[in-house]
């Protein structure tokens, strides 16, 4: 049953992710991304990570994508026809980064990893149930430094965005 559900959600997620880049319509692409986030949240639920699943929907689908669509609607972009583009400097860098990421993922996928009982030895630490209490305790004890660094990075990003967007404060 679980494997069956996994394949359904995996196919839906992959299909919607493909639609994100193949859709000529900007709002359509953004909505496909929202759908893909729901698929990922369902996969998290299958892994008993309820907290992460809810956060995925609350933050990505409920907050970030709303802003995306808000901006897309404000700009009122016309659907553009897909066409071949020439290779320039910045696109070369972007493309190489994408290929590098793909290679990394492929290496990770192809490498055999123990699953189940032996997995905890490789990943380090016992798997915990994804409840709010468990995740919160881990975040505020073992992983407090990365957690706080992330929040400071976000703060810096917000201040940077405000200073760039608003010339006179």
């Amino acid at each position: 049953m679980e494997a069956f559900l996994f394949y359904i959600f995996a196919i839906v997620t992959a299909g919607l992710s493909l639609l994100v880049i193949l859709q000529p319509n900007a709002v359509g692409a953004a909505m496909s991304l929202v759908g893909a986030f729901f698929g990922i949240a369902a996969l998290f639920v299958l892994m008993q990570a309820h907290f992460v699943a809810v956060m995925q929907i609350l933050l990505y689908a409920g907050a970030i994508m709303v802003f995306f669509i808000f901006v897309v609607m404000m700009l009122n972009l016309e659907p553009k026809q897909l066409r071949w583009r020439t290779i320039t400097g910045s696109r070369l860098i972007g493309g190489s980064a994408a290929i590098y990421l793909l290679g990394l993922l492929l290496v990770a996928l192809l490498e055999r990893r123990p699953v189940g009982a032996g997995a905890s030895a490789v990943w380090g630490g016992e798997p915990v149930e994804g409840t709010v209490e468990a995740v919160g305790e881990l975040l505020l004890s073992q992983y407090i430094v990365p957690f706080e660094v992330t929040s400071i990075t976000l703060l810096v990003a917000i201040i940077g965005a405000v200073t760039m967007g608003k010339r006179e404060l």
């Binding site: 956060m55 929907i57 409920g62 609607m73 709010v132």
Partner: protein, 420 residues
């Protein structure tokens, strides 16, 4: 298994049946508040049920109306937007606990669809999706008015979601959990155990944000008719419009359920312990029956008096005149019947344990739903009392008043929790 399938159906059925009740509340309430006549025409064989039957006329009208789709609309999103609105409004009800969990043998039966560990976060997550229906409706119809309505709605909902989330954080700090059943259970005891009394600021902020989320007056700028025709649903007709309309009321019901569970003690009555009620249930049967009987006779008597007064002065001249007489005599007879049953009740009454559990659960559900009806009425009350905000006032209230207040509330609550 069967229970798992039935539970969502029953819960959605309850929400959908609240909608006609709320529309009736809205019409009657607005009529009383603004001193004008409410729905008083639609009748079947002279029975109007105080205007309740007007909803049936609405349904027939909306179902048979022509469904117009603008030629330049984006058809897929145009069709899916009302569905998203309705889906998001009803799906939150899944984690609301209507009564205390019931232990049947080994297993425990919960009166909610899913007892999620992250219950409250689920509510916030689903609430944050509500903006999609409105936004897509505004964009897909390809009309400047709907577009402006959609943009306004999304800006407003994003702004007030922040305040709503922060208001709830203070409540979580004092409850120490995000599980809704646990939050309700923590409010057992005296009246001041309700979070509405220990966290009054959070209650006010939460209710205000909820009003903004449901797009109702004083926050109904997305459909401000003086500026935007009808806002994001200008181009919708027939049942698609009705879905938006129903979604608004479903949102009110769910919001009232949330206020009840989070701030008003859920299924608890102040100072009354349900465990004691369950133990001494026999003592409560007769007073409850007498109460029902007296109320029924009172309502019946008032209706009969109304018939007698109306018959001589203000007559319609058709079957409608006799409606209050029929219901009044019915109420009187039902009251006498219930009082007779109370008198005939044997003194050495004993109730089987299972029936006992069931009766207590029923009483808890009634208490919960009574509170929900009261808060629903508050939504309507606010709508017909307050004028609409201006857009800059709305944004200033959201970001410069509510968010700082919510943050201060969190700081104070955290300090008290840490010290106490």
């Amino acid at each position: 298994m069967l229970v798992d399938i039935l539970k969502p159906l029953v819960v959605v059925f309850v929400v959908l049946n609240f909608i006609p009740l709320l529309i009736w509340f809205e019409r009657k309430g607005s009529a009383y508040i603004q001193d004008r006549r409410g729905p008083n025409r639609a009748a079947i064989l002279g029975i109007r049920l105080g205007g309740m039957l007007h909803n049936l006329a609405d349904v027939v009208k909306l179902l048979t109306k022509e469904d117009i789709v603008p030629t330049r609309a984006h058809r897929f999103f145009y069709f899916i937007a009302p569905m998203i609105a309705m889906f998001v409004a009803t799906v939150t009800i899944g984690v609301i606990p209507f009564a205390a969990p019931l232990a049947i043998g080994e297993r425990s039966f919960t009166f909610q669809v899913a007892d999620l560990n992250a219950g409250l976060l689920y509510v916030l997550a689903m609430g944050s999706l509500g903006v999609y229906g409105v936004m897509l409706a505004g964009w897909a119809a390809n009309n400047n008015y709907t577009m402006l309505g959609g943009l306004r709605a999304s800006a407003q909902m994003i702004s007030y979601e922040v305040a709503m989330g922060l208001a709830v954080v203070a409540l979580l700090l004092s409850a120490g959990t995000v599980n809704l059943t646990a939050i309700v259970e923590a409010q057992r005891g005296p009246l001041w155990a309700w979070y509405g009394f220990t966290q009054p600021l959070a209650l006010v902020l939460f209710c205000t944000a909820l009003l903004a989320e449901t797009n109702r007056n004083p926050f109904d700028l997305p459909e401000g008719e003086s500026e935007l025709v009808a806002g994001y649903h200008t181009e919708y007709s027939s049942m698609k419009f009705a879905l938006f309309f129903m979604a608004e009321y479903a949102h009110i019901v769910v919001g009232a359920c949330l206020i009840t569970a989070l701030f008003a003690g859920g299924w608890h009555i102040p100072w009354i312990d349900w465990a004691y009620v369950r133990q001494q249930l026999e003592l409560f049967v007769r007073p409850t029956l007498v109460g029902f009987g007296v109320c029924s006779m009172l309502v019946g008597g008032l209706l009969c008096r109304r018939f007698l007064r109306r018959y001589s002065t203000a007559r319609y001249g058709d079957l409608r005149d006799y409606e209050s007489l029929v219901f009044g005599i019915g109420g009187l007879l039902a009251g006498i019947g219930v009082l007779g049953a109370a008198a005939l009740l044997p003194d050495d009454l004993s109730i089987a344990p299972f029936t006992r559990d069931l009766l207590v659960a029923l009483a808890q559900i009634s208490v919960f739903l009574t509170k929900v009806v009261f808060f629903c009425w508050c939504f309507i009350w606010v709508r017909w009392t307050l004028p609409r905000f201006r857009y800059d006032q709305l944004m200033r209230l959201g970001w410069k008043v509510m968010v700082p207040l919510a943050l201060a509330n969190i700081a104070v609550t955290a300090a008290i929790v840490a010290l106490g």
